[in-house]
Symmetry: C2
Subunit: 198 residues, 2 copies
């Protein structure tokens, strides 16, 4: 069974991500935030805890070849800018929606990583009763934070009116919630959702 990350679904024991996890112990080294989130969402799905998927990368397909007796080959396509966030799904009867970003920056998260239309989307999600947040990784600190959308909006507004173009690391440390890195459900962000929204 194929998953959006293109990885075959495997029994927990044999799960590739789990194996990586053993190899890397509890360190993040070498694993991208997307890998960690896909593996976490896979775990949630297998544990029947939540149904959260990464959306496929939006691609504008221009040209496709249909060779006889073999699969269609896309020979020309272009990346499109996503109009929403990357991840959404269902948890405890609630709609969950988030964007995940990594930064090499030590002291702040640059807002240039987020697009205006993604903010509009997040505002709409909050307004219509969804749970919406960012998952931010500071690779240098090897730390990953959950940062509620409601706390992002004021910084975005300030930025639009000539304010800071980034959110200071200290603010994210204070107003965000660190996601511990662990063996199963490597980035167990739903544990934070439980506390914040239920």
């Amino acid at each position: 069974m194929k998953y959006p990350n293109g990885r075959k679904r495997a029994p927990l024991a044999g799960n590739r991500s789990e194996q990586n996890n053993l190899v890397n112990q509890y360190s993040n080294r070498g694993m991208t935030l997307e890998d960690d989130l896909n593996s976490t969402n896979e775990f949630y799905l297998q544990a029947d805890k939540a149904i959260i998927h990464k959306k496929p990368t939006p691609v504008q397909i221009v040209n496709v070849n249909y060779p006889k007796r073999s699969a269609a080959v896309i020979t020309e396509a272009y990346f499109k800018q996503a109009s929403t966030t990357d991840y959404n799904g269902l948890y405890r009867n609630k709609y969950v929606d988030f964007e995940a970003k990594e930064t090499k920056n030590k002291t702040s998260f640059p807002l240039a990583n987020i697009h205006e239309h993604q903010i509009r989307h997040m505002e709409a999600v909050v307004k219509h009763g969804g749970i919406c947040f960012l998952i931010l990784r500071f690779t240098v600190h090897d730390e990953t934070y959950l940062f509620p959308a409601e706390r992002l909006f004021p910084y975005w507004k300030k930025r639009m009116t000539g304010g800071k173009k980034s959110i200071p690391y200290e603010v994210i440390k204070e107003e965000g919630y660190i996601i511990p890195f662990q063996y199963q459900a490597r980035l167990d962000y739903l544990r934070i959702i439980d506390k914040l929204y239920f």
Copy 2:
């Protein structure tokens, strides 16, 4: 602002879909179910009624060229089978999830149009408190129905145990809900959701 359908968002008055709508009057002729749903979801979004998007087509990207001073070109990619349904989003605090299918068949909807893992996904969505259904169009009858996932499951099970490989048109007429085709919100399926789930 780009939408998943690659179409620019336009003010309602100038909305291309609306114009098509005028041209086709209230007939479906020449418009695909996907066109109609994208235009409907666009209308819901602009009217701030719901946030429902079609997921991008899952593509396995194999080769990308990065020409200098121009956009990256995907030169080899393959279509992947989706692991979920095509549409999901948020409406009145609820997670909404559906698959849309057209059939040229006059007398029944062939279950071969749906994949086992999509059924698993729909079962999980229902179990976790989401609103889940099929939107089925019989192109020959020029009729579109909303068919709740809960009513699909028994037919799927029967099929698995050697039963019918399709759902008779008459059953869909009886157990489903016809979606009238109209000017604004061309396929106003949320009106049916309001009655069924709220």
